[in-house]
C-alpha cells in the first residue's frame, strides 16, 4: 500500500506543469552553480562533489515545499477527506505523499548530474557507485520521513509558507550540502548533527569521494525513524483536531 501510494503520488506531483517547469530548469541552474562555485579548485572530484551536493539541495527543496504543504495541498484538491476516511492510521496515509516528494526530488539529483555531465563534462566516477545508489535511496526515504514531521507540524502553524521559505537555505548550509560543515561556525554543529539531511548529504559525499558510507547511512536512517514516530503522533493529534474544528475540508 505504501509503495503504490508513493508511486501514484509521485505521478500526480510530477505531472503538474509548474513542477515540470521547475524540474527542467532548476537542475541546470544547480549544475551551473556547482561548476562555477568550484571552478577555482578545478579538480574533477570537487566538481562532482559539488554537483551531488547541489542535487541533494534539490531533493531537500522538493521535500520541504512538497511535504510542508502536503496536507494543505490535499485539502485544496478536496482529497484530504477521502484519504482520511481510510480505516488506517493517518501516518500510513500521509507517509507515501511525503516520500513521493522525496522521489520527485531525487529526479533533480539525477538531472543535476546529467546536466553536469552534458554541459560541463563532469566525469561521473564515484568511488563507491553501489553505495552511492543505496545512500541516495536511503536519503530519499529519510527525507520523506523528515517530511512527514514537517507535514504534521506545518499544518498546525499559521505561517507555514513563510517558515518553509526561511528554512530552505539555512538547511542547505547547515547540513553541508553546499560547503563542508567544517567551515561553518561551531554553533551550527549540534543542529547539523540532529538533521537527517546532514547525514544523508554526508553519506552521498562519502560515496562520491571515498569514506565510510555506512555509519552515515545508519545515523541518517535512525534520525528519520525518530522523525517518523514523532510525525506519526503529531498526525494523530492533527487529525483529531481537524475533525473537531472542521478543517479537513475547505470551509
Amino acid at each position: 500500500m505504501l509503495l503504490l501510494g508513493t508511486l501514484l503520488h509521485a505521478k500526480q506531483i510530477s505531472r503538474s506543469p509548474f513542477e515540470l517547469a521547475i524540474a527542467m530548469i532548476v537542475p541546470i541552474v544547480q549544475a551551473t552553480l556547482a561548476v562555477y562555485l568550484f571552478r577555482s579548485g578545478a579538480e574533477q572530484h570537487r566538481l562532482l562533489e559539488a554537483a551531488v551536493g547541489a542535487g541533494v539541495m534539490g531533493v531537500w527543496s522538493s521535500v520541504l515545499f512538497g511535504s510542508g504543504g502536503a496536507i494543505q495541498n490535499q485539502r485544496w484538491q478536496g482529497t484530504l477527506e477521502m484519504i482520511m476516511l481510510a480505516p488506517r492510521r493517518p501516518v500510513l496515509v500521509i507517509l507515501p505523499i511525503t516520500v513521493a516528494t522525496g522521489v520527485t526530488g531525487a529526479y533533480s539529483l539525477l538531472a543535476t548530474l546529467a546536466w553536469g555531465r552534458l554541459l560541463y563534462g563532469i566525469r561521473l566516477d564515484f568511488v563507491h557507485p553501489a553505495a552511492f545508489v543505496v545512500a541516495a535511496v536511503v536519503c530519499v526515504l529519510a527525507l520523506g520521513m523528515f517530511g512527514l514531521l514537517l507535514a504534521s507540524t506545518f499544518v498546525l502553524l499559521r505561517n507555514a509558507n513563510a517558515l518553509a521559505n526561511t528554512l530552505e537555505y539555512p538547511i542547505w548550509l547547515v547540513s553541508g550540502m553546499l560547503v563542508p560543515i567544517t567551515v561553518l561556525p561551531a554553533w551550527t554543529a549540534p543542529i547539523a548533527a540532529v538533521l537527517p539531511t546532514t547525514w544523508g548529504a554526508r553519506a552521498l559525499r562519502e560515496a562520491t569521494t571515498g569514506g565510510p558510507v555506512w555509519p552515515s547511512v545508519g545515523i541518517c536512517l535512525a534520525i528519520s525513524l525518530v522523525c517518523l514516530i514523532l510525525g506519526g503522533f503529531a498526525l494523530t493529534y492533527v487529525e483529531r483536531r481537524a475533525r473537531a474544528t472542521a478543517t479537513l475540508a475547505l470551509a
Binding site: 505521478k11 478536496g78 482529497t79 477527506e81 477521502m82 484519504i83 481510510a86 483529531r240 479537513l248 470551509a251
Partner: protein, 325 residues
C-alpha cells in the same frame, strides 16, 4: 452484527466556531445542526431532504467520522462514530456531489487503484472489483484517461465507483446528482436503488424533492438544523391534505403583491419561482376557501399566462414544512 440499526443518531449537535476579520478578530458561531435524532434500519434507503444550509452535509459528516459532534452521539453498524472510527470507516462509503476530491492528473483507474489499496480491498480482489465498478458506472474504456479530461458526469460516476470499492454496508451520498445532466441523474438513481435493493443501507441527502420521493423509503425533512418532519413519502404528502394549490404564470410580479397574497384569508403558503422571463407563482390555501378570484384581483395589471388549480403534491408538502420551520 451488533445493532439492528445501521445508523443511530441521538441528539446530534454541531456548532462551527470561527474567527472573522484580521485586524480585530471576532468570534463567530454557526449552529449548523441543533439536535438531530433518527434511526435507520439495515437495508433502508433514508433521505435527508432540505434547502441549502439546512445542515445536511454537517449531519452526514458527523455520521461518517469526518466531524466530531459538539454534543450528542451516533453509531454506525453499532460502532460509535467518535470512539471507534476505524470500525466505522471500514463499513462505510462516502460520495459527495461536485467534481472535486479526485487526483486530477492520474487516470480514473489509478484513482481507483489507490483508493482500493487505501480502503483495504484485498489485493487479489482489487482487479476484479475495479473492473466490476467501472462497468457499473459505465466508465469502462475511459479508465486510462486522466481525470482532468473527464466531464462532470464522469467524475461523479468515478466518485461513486470509489465509494463502493470496499463494498460498504452503509453508503452516505451527499447530493450526488448535483450538476449532473438529467439522463445521468436518472442512471444514478437507478444505481442507488439497485444498491439498496441488494441490502446496502443508503443515507442520501438532496434538495430535489422528486429525487427523494422516487428513491427513499423514508424521508427526514431538515431545515434550520432540525428535523421538521419524518416519514414515508406518502405520510409526508398527507401533510398537505386539506389544501388546494393555485399556480399562476406571470411576468413581473411586484414584491408587494406577493406579500399581499400571503395575508389573504385561507392562504397558507406562497412561493415564486423564476423560469426565465416567466415567474411561476404558487399559492397554497385551505381547500374549502376559493382564493383564485382574490389572487387574480391582487395581480390586476400584471401580465399573466396560464392559471390553474390542482391537488397538492409532495413538493407542496415539502414547501409547507420548510416554510413552517
Amino acid at each position: 452484527m451488533g445493532s439492528e440499526y445501521a445508523i443511530e443518531a441521538d441528539q446530534l449537535r454541531r456548532t462551527y466556531r470561527g474567527r472573522s476579520g484580521w485586524l480585530r478578530p471576532r468570534r463567530t458561531e454557526v449552529e449548523a445542526v441543533r439536535g438531530i435524532s433518527f434511526t435507520v434500519p439495515r437495508g433502508e434507503l433514508f433521505g435527508l431532504l432540505g434547502p441549502n444550509g439546512a445542515g445536511k452535509t454537517t449531519t452526514i459528516k458527523m455520521l461518517n467520522t469526518l466531524l466530531i459532534p459538539t454534543s450528542g452521539t451516533a453509531r454506525v453498524g453499532g460502532h460509535d462514530v467518535v470512539g471507534q472510527t476505524r470500525e466505522v470507516r471500514r463499513r462505510i462509503g462516502y460520495v459527495f456531489g461536485g467534481d472535486r476530491g479526485l487526483y486530477e492528473r492520474l487516470s480514473g483507474l489509478d484513482n481507483l487503484r489507490y483508493f482500493a489499496e487505501l480502503y483495504g480491498v484485498p489485493p487479489r480482489a482489487q482487479k476484479r472489483r475495479i473492473a466490476e465498478l467501472l462497468e457499473l458506472v459505465s466508465l469502462t474504456g475511459r479508465e486510462r484517461e486522466r481525470v482532468e479530461g473527464y466531464s462532470r458526469g464522469m467524475r461523479q460516476r468515478l466518485h461513486i465507483a470509489r465509494g463502493l470499492l470496499h463494498s460498504p454496508e452503509v453508503l452516505f451520498l451527499d447530493e450526488p446528482s448535483i450538476g449532473v445532466d438529467p439522463v445521468a441523474a436518472r442512471e444514478l438513481r437507478r444505481t442507488v436503488a439497485d444498491l439498496a435493493a441488494n441490502g446496502t443501507t443508503v443515507l442520501l441527502t438532496t434538495h430535489y424533492m422528486a429525487e427523494a420521493d422516487e428513491l427513499c423509503d423514508r424521508i427526514a425533512v431538515i431545515a434550520d438544523g432540525r428535523i421538521q418532519a419524518l416519514g414515508t413519502p406518502a405520510e409526508l404528502r398527507r401533510r398537505a391534505d386539506g389544501r388546494r394549490v393555485v399556480e399562476v404564470e406571470a411576468y413581473g410580479v411586484p414584491e408587494t403583491a406577493v406579500s399581499a397574497l400571503r395575508d389573504l384569508p385561507g392562504v397558507r403558503e406562497t412561493a415564486i419561482e423564476e423560469r426565465g422571463a416567466l415567474q411561476l407563482l404558487t399559492v397554497q390555501s385551505d381547500a374549502h376557501v376559493d382564493v383564485q378570484g382574490e389572487i387574480l384581483r391582487e395581480l390586476a395589471g400584471v401580465r399573466l399566462g396560464r392559471v390553474n388549480s390542482r391537488e397538492p403534491t409532495l413538493e407542496d408538502a415539502y414547501v409547507a414544512i420548510v416554510n413552517a420551520a
